[in-house]
């Protein structure tokens, strides 16, 4: 047998339904993550459309307050927790192992588990929306409104548990990515040769790890207050409503950067490829990413300027919020410099990056105005803020993401996306976006608060709102074009080949789509731009075992080969554990007993997950081959 056949057999992707549920490789899970996240994106987008219909004209009776409040809550929650963060992590799951030259992501079974937990959480939220049981207290559900006294029933509990779902999933992925980036890099990939996208994913993972525990704490307190009558947020018994805001925003602000930093990595990759030059100021860009990651934790209070905290403190947070504009500025300048120096090829991915710069800079500048305490006191919680964060989130994250989709689609599917459709798609989205969200600045300055289900006719807000609603129509068309282009290209698109863009990073050094074992010979990196600097007699890693899922573990700093580890194969138990976890989470909305009782099956599933040769491992394995694999593992 050739090496390829042996690897094919060892790294098999299991077949059959059970196989589908037990698959444990980063490409499959990454793709599922992407598709699922985009599905939630569409759902939340439809909800946004409904809101724009309601707000198109004053005193509209299309939606009542009850339904409208559910819709905007689910829209925000779903976009933040079920689309933005997971989709960025999905890109990391799929691309990082390829970019660092590994055969798989670290802890692949944990990866499977996290996907199914994420899926169950998302399905739960969609179900609540369809069953008129959706949370209706805003995506940061402030207490006491979200507390037991003012939101009877289970609506807010579903919000709190959705947080738990998504955080469990996100934290697991963050740990995998950190381990992958630190220990599974190809030999020779020293710290200063790590691709910028991988750097951004690393920073994002660390931010996830340090930010999310805060919101888990906050939402668990909320759940306990509602279910078992604790008093964390009850001012009459020594609790404090503001505590929730602190806990939430200590997570909530880094959250924005968790979403936005991987996008910056995509921008850098795309600019490098489409200028065919090394990016300008690699070190500066890396340091900027890290600085953003740190400062991002220092400015949560700028969401609470109106709560009457001590003035001096507020000014500190003004300063901090303004300081974070500096690393962003540095990156913008570096990208502009790269574009100036290089020879830009104006294809769809680069267009989206240019759109990103135009939109994001405006959003960033309106962010600077928001950081100023006095001005924020006026525009806080108005449509000005709505405009601002859509500029930074859609402009700053979704545009690069779509650019990234156009860029990496060939690698993932093996087929190119249509460039002409792509260009039109870009124009429609760009115009649609600005027509939708730019007028919101003015609506806010004219005194329109956010989260209003309707507004009086005599406030002068009618025109701006109508324009926004019309722009939303364009956005819908743009989204449809994107889907159309993805589907048609997937079916009939031009075959891509290994490296259609002549890009520099390792993922383009293997076939498109990559084989189950990623690289026939694990690559060795000789420069920052692995493929551009690859010599004819480029060294490769040899001596690795082909008959078991062995991977090379390298040193954190200089990427020197250090030792070898064997990855576990596919198994059903992560899926089972995820299902039991979900049952426990949802059950604990109704009774606290779900926690002690629910943990038992979870524990059993986990034990079988880790138990060598437990039944359920190697499901869907090619029969005749499955034996030697097991022997190899036992030896």
């Amino acid at each position: 047998m050739t090496d390829a056949e042996l690897l094919e057999r060892t790294w098999y992707v299991p077949r059959g339904v059970l196989g589908w549920l037990s698959v444990a490789d980063h490409r499959t899970i990454g793709k599922r993550y992407l598709v699922t996240a985009f599905a939630f994106f569409l759902f939340a987008g439809v909800l946004a459309g409904l809101m724009r219909i309601q707000l198109a004209v004053p005193n509209n009776r299309f939606l009542g307050p009850d339904l409208y409040n559910q819709i905007f809550t689910v829209h925000g929650t779903m976009m933040m927790f079920l689309f933005a963060v997971p989709v960025m992590e999905a890109m990391g799951i799929y691309l990082v192992p390829l970019m660092v030259g590994a055969r798989n992501i670290a802890f692949p079974r944990l990866n499977t588990y996290s996907y199914f937990v994420f899926l169950c959480g998302g399905v739960m939220l969609v179900a609540t929306m369809l069953l008129n049981t959706a949370p209706d207290v805003g995506w940061f559900s402030y207490v006491p409104l979200a507390g037991p006294d003012y939101t009877p029933g289970k609506r807010a509990d579903f919000w709190a548990q959705l947080i738990t779902f998504t955080e469990v999933a996100a934290l697991a992925v963050a740990v995998e990515l950190v381990a992958t980036i630190f220990k599974l890099r190809a030999p020779g990939m020293t710290l200063n040769r790590i691709p910028l996208f991988v750097w951004s994913i690393l920073v994002m993972s660390f931010m996830v790890i340090f930010a999310m525990p805060a919101v888990v704490t906050g939402s668990s307190f909320l759940l306990m207050d509602r279910l078992v009558g604790t008093h964390f947020y009850n001012p009459a018994e020594g609790g404090d409503p503001l505590l929730f805001q602190h806990l939430f925003w200590f997570f909530g602000h880094p959250e924005v950067y968790i979403i936005f930093i991987p996008a910056l990595g995509m921008v850098s990759s795309i600019i490098t490829t489409f200028t065919q030059r090394p990016i300008f100021g690699y070190t500066a860009l890396v340091l900027a990413l890290i600085a953003t990651g740190f400062i991002g934790f220092g400015l949560w209070v700028h969401h609470m300027f109106a709560t009457g905290l001590p003035q001096l403190g507020l000014h500190y947070f003004t300063a901090a919020s303004i300081v974070i504009a500096i690393p962003s500025g540095v990156q913008i300048f570096c990208w502009i410099a790269s574009l100036w120096r290089g020879r830009p090829r104006f294809e769809t991915p680069l267009l989206f990056v240019i759109g990103f710069i135009i939109i994001f800079v405006l959003g960033g500048l309106s962010g600077v105005t928001l950081a100023s305490v006095p001005f924020d006191l006026q525009v806080h919680d108005t449509y000005y803020v709505v405009a601002h964060f859509h500029y930074v989130l859609i402009g700053g994250a979704v545009f690069p993401l779509i650019g990234g989709v156009y860029y990496w689609f060939p690698k993932i599917t093996g087929r190119m996306m249509d460039n002409t459709v792509g260009i039109v798609n870009f124009v429609v989205l760009f115009v649609g976006f600005n027509v939708t969200f730019f007028p919101m600045h003015q609506a806010g300055l004219m005194g329109m608060p956010r989260r209003v289900y309707t507004y009086p006719a005599d406030m002068g807000w009618n025109t701006v709102n109508l324009i926004s609603s019309l722009g939303a129509l364009l956005l819908v068309i743009g989204g449809a074009m994107l889907i159309y282009n993805m589907v048609t290209s997937y079916l009939w698109g031009a075959v891509a080949g290994d490296n259609p863009w002549n890009a520099d990073t390792l993922e383009w050094g293997t076939t498109s789509p990559p084989p189950v074992y990623n690289f026939l010979y694990p690559p060795v990196v000789e420069g920052r731009h692995a493929l551009w600097e690859r010599t004819a007699a480029a060294p490769v890693v040899t001596g690795g075992r082909l008959d078991c899922r062995e991977c090379l573990v390298t040193d954190v700093m200089d990427g020197e080969p250090s030792n070898k580890t064997e990855f576990p194969g596919p198994t059903i138990w992560p899926f089972v554990a995820a299902i039991f976890t979900s049952i426990m989470f949802i059950g604990s909305i109704f009774t606290a007993w779900a926690v002690p009782i629910g943990t038992v099956p979870i524990a059993i599933a986990l034990i079988l997950w880790f138990w060598p040769h437990a039944p359920g491992h190697d499901i869907g394995a090619p029969e005749e081959e499955s034996t030697p694999v097991v022997e190899a593992r036992a030896s």
Partner: protein, 330 residues
Amino acid sequence: MIVRALLLVAAAAAAGCSGNQNVFNPAGPAARDIASLGWQLFIVCGAVYLLTLLALAWALARRRVPSDDTVETTASLTRTVTIATVLSIVILIGITISSVVHGRGLTSPSGPGAITLDAIGHQWWWEFQYRDLTPSDFVTSPNELHIPVGVPIQIKAMSRDVIHSFWVPNLHGKRDLIPGQVTNFWIQADTPGVYRGQCAEFCGHQHANMAFTVVAEPMDKFQQWIRAQRQPAAEPVNAEQARGQEVFLQGPCVMCHTIRGTSAGSRVGPELTHVGSRLTIAAGTLPNTRGHLGGWVLDSQSVKPGNRMPPNALTSDDLQAVLSYLRSLR
């Protein structure tokens, strides 16, 4: 984009001349201060945005020359980027200082506070209480805040249920009303007029319609108003009004509403002692006309779904009687 940015400034300016509840239509020192800061910010940020876009356009459109890859080019680029960074740092420091300077005035009033009053947020209406040395002279004015012009008004704000936010854009930025806390702030109007305020923190079903009116008037007129408010409710002067009062006092109304001088003394809903004198009803949602009042009393839920006023099935002549009675409470 640039064009649109300019359009915004223009539009905001245009709107600035008109438009109640407009941030750029200040009628008090605090709002004026913030508005001027806002203009500063817009001009500076606008300029920065313009420059960035120009740089981008140049970078994309310029003709490429062989010397692009030389070390010198890179060095000069590095210099440019460094300068740009330093410049933006300077600008940002400027913005910080300016916002701190503007911020100082907002915390404490410029002059001695003439009036001290409590602002209490309820789901979904406002209660303004004018304290006085003699408790009998306390005045409660739901959803309508009367203030004298030219003097700072000290406000002690609190909430009875969830978090609300007190916001009169023409006078000042917003301030949250947080249960279990008393927040002190101040507002001041310089030009007489009627300004609209609105709850700015999401507070449930009727957050959208939780508005109130601020009536800023010269001191003497204000004193007049408060003297009038101190009086107990007007007695019925004709048979229909008397009938209306009877219906009111025998009916469900007394369970929630107060009319000073009668047996109606519940503090659950807005006080109605001088309801006839108000500009709006239903928390700044409806003009205070007989028709709207009638519709509100009969079936408030179809006007503001989820609000706390129950539907009241009154026979038509009972309703007419109640209306004439309420309208007579001036």
